[in-house]
Symmetry: C2
Subunit: 403 residues, 2 copies
């Protein structure tokens, strides 16, 4: 694939590419020499339970693999094995070598649903950082100033707000940058929140006489609400280990706008196809629900296979059809002397069942819904002066007004 075609794919969904000119030269050289580029992305050493937000980066790595480049999936176990030396946080215990290896396996189970295992090198930074001497780290620390480190947004804010920053926190961006030196990375990917650290890598590589890595930042994916960043704690996420029906259903629940965003960041749809989809949505030749179904099918298939994806679509369509409230239905007014009326009685009077007792039985068997909610209580009452949509079984509907 030509350099400009590669560039277009790499740019897809990315927030920044620094510097694009350098990237172009690297791609040209790689094309000429046949030597693939080394793409680095770093991940936490803690046990992962990935959601779609994490896969934005993985999707970009997958694209690099499809372009023939080499992905280094770096697990930052070195600092994880130190733990939190301040001893303040109970949650950050030092990981053992075994923890790290176990977590790595959990990673592989999940990420190899997206990445090609053949083109992925899983590396641990402890490999080159554990043998590092204190004197090496001092030499590393000499390469950056306090003032420049304080330019990192979170450091800057904490310093301004007089919240403590431990000195070792200033070492971590340098260590992450040194990983790029050790790997001789051509490109490093990260979220927009990682931009500062990725740029430190560029600088250190220069100091070591290497060509500085191209930095590509990817956006933080919006969650199901379309507003906040997808996260476990906000509950607006789709976990990649969720069931086919849950993943499909959640995808079907998002707005049309967010669907296009997810297509851009998560789907394997080519840029060409993506363009056609957007045009079709705009001129009305493609129905948004059909587009959402196709996206849901693609993503379920990725994590659960094609058969499961087909089943998820069918399940959804059936449930959707079953749950559909018809636009036209009988309008029935029921007279009531008291303030309330028993539901079973209303069912009989409306002709939805033959008698009060059949109404009772049908309620107890779970066959009655009021305003789309299943009713289980045979003594359920309706209020005078209100209107209800009542469903019996799958097909019988009526709009009942108690008066």
């Amino acid at each position: 694939m030509s350099v400009s075609e590669q560039l277009e794919i790499i740019r897809r969904g990315a927030v920044e590419v620094l510097l694009e000119k350098e990237l172009e030269e690297k791609l040209e050289k790689s094309l000429k020499t046949g030597v693939p580029l080394k793409i680095k992305a770093g991940f936490d050493p803690t046990a992962p339970d990935l959601h779609f937000g994490h896969t934005v980066l993985l999707q970009k790595l997958r694209q690099f693999q499809q372009l023939g480049h080499e992905v280094y999936f770096l697990i930052g176990d070195f600092t994880g094995m130190i733990g939190d030396p301040t001893g303040k946080s109970e949650t950050r215990k030092a990981l053992t070598r075994d923890d790290v290896l176990r977590n790595a396996e959990t990673y592989k189970d999940q990420v190899f649903k997206i990445l090609d295992p053949e083109k992925t090198k899983v590396v641990f930074n402890s490999e080159w950082l554990s043998p590092l001497q204190a004197s090496d780290l001092i030499a590393l620390a000499a390469k950056y100033t306090v003032a420049r480190m304080l330019e990192r947004e979170d450091f800057h804010n904490r310093f301004a707000n007089q919240q403590p920053i431990s000195i070792h926190e200033f070492l971590y961006p340098l260590i992450q940058g040194y990983d790029s030196v050790a790997l001789q990375a051509d490109i490093e990917l990260g979220g927009t929140d990682q931009k500062f650290n990725l740029l430190v890598g560029r600088e250190l590589q220069r100091g070591w006489g290497q060509a500085p890595q191209t930095v590509i930042t990817m956006p933080l994916l919006e969650g199901l609400d379309g507003i906040n960043k997808m996260s476990k704690s906000l509950g607006n996420y789709i976990g990649i280990n969720e069931s086919p029906d849950d993943i499909f259903g959640k995808i079907m629940s998002i707005t049309d706008e967010l669907m296009v965003r997810y297509y851009e960041l998560l789907s394997d749809l080519s840029l060409d196809e993506l363009g056609k989809l957007q045009n079709g949505l705009r001129d009305g030749t493609i129905h948004p629900m059909e587009a959402k179904k196709a996206l849901g099918r693609e993503l379920v298939a990725r994590y659960h296979g094609s058969l499961e994806a087909d089943a998820a679509v069918e399940n959804f369509v059936r449930r959707f059809r079953d749950n559909q409230v018809p636009e036209e239905m009988a309008d029935i007014a029921l007279d009531c002397d008291a303030g309330t009326m028993l539901l079973c009685k209303a069912l009989a009077e409306a002709g939805l069942v033959k008698s009060n007792s059949e109404g009772r039985r049908t309620i107890l068997q779970g066959g009655v819904k009021v305003d789309s909610e299943k009713v289980a209580d045979e003594n359920c009452e309706l209020y005078k002066g209100k209107e209800y949509v009542i469903q019996v079984g799958k097909r019988r509907f009526a709009r009942i007004r108690v008066q």
Copy 2:
């Protein structure tokens, strides 16, 4: 010696003792158990050429030795062997192991004129710092915050003035503090400019479950001018390797006030004798010049031995006597027609020589001084309306007024 007597000696000349209460307890314990205290003082690994300013600290260490305690003369070779990793300063090259050992020998040659070699352990911090892993240093860096490190005066000023501070500079106070942990120091001595670093040592020791070291700061010695800190670059110093005559002469040149200060900080005179000296100077029973001679003699003897010291005193007294201008001498007025008068003629007319030509010869032979300055020019002229003290040879003086 009792604890209170020891305390009095330790306090002599010190700027601060932190905390004195703790020091008292340590001295008591040492007295009870017979286990000497460990006194730490750190020195640069660069080739030393010590002047009296450096010996203030050494003198205090000597007093600790005389009190029976154990001095650790720590050469900070670890960071010296890293050099200046910024590469900005050409003057701070990395020292080799051989450099360090050679410099240590130069140190010993000099400091053992003050310290007792039997009670001095010369240690190199590379011993425990070279095996230190990067991960250990990260754990160390976690124990201190950026904000607190920026409280150190020089860091604070440089930060405020937007002068760069490299991140490794933040590691050095921690490393120096870790030295105290490694040595399990009971006391650390330093100049007042070292106070911050010495206090970091206290804190780290606490973190390691050790009793925090007592911090004793010594003043920066004033130079010969009595105002500025003694330093090579200001030229107001006395080097310990200077000749007996130079050391003695420089001591004789200082003010009476500075002499008392030097006695306090540099001399072995006991506190009792020091008190008597100060009283004697105050009530006039001791002549300042005699006190200065005694100080000069003591200090020359320390670096060159007793015989050399006696010779220096004699040399000084003889030179002094020879250079002395008598208070009483002949007052001679010489009449002069022109604006000036030849010096040789004036010598003859004043009867200091027999003729103009003898005057010329004596000038050329270097035998004539005008206002204590030797005159070499036979055509030297004196000005009408002025008065001169003229010396011929060692003994002939006259006050001559040309009118």
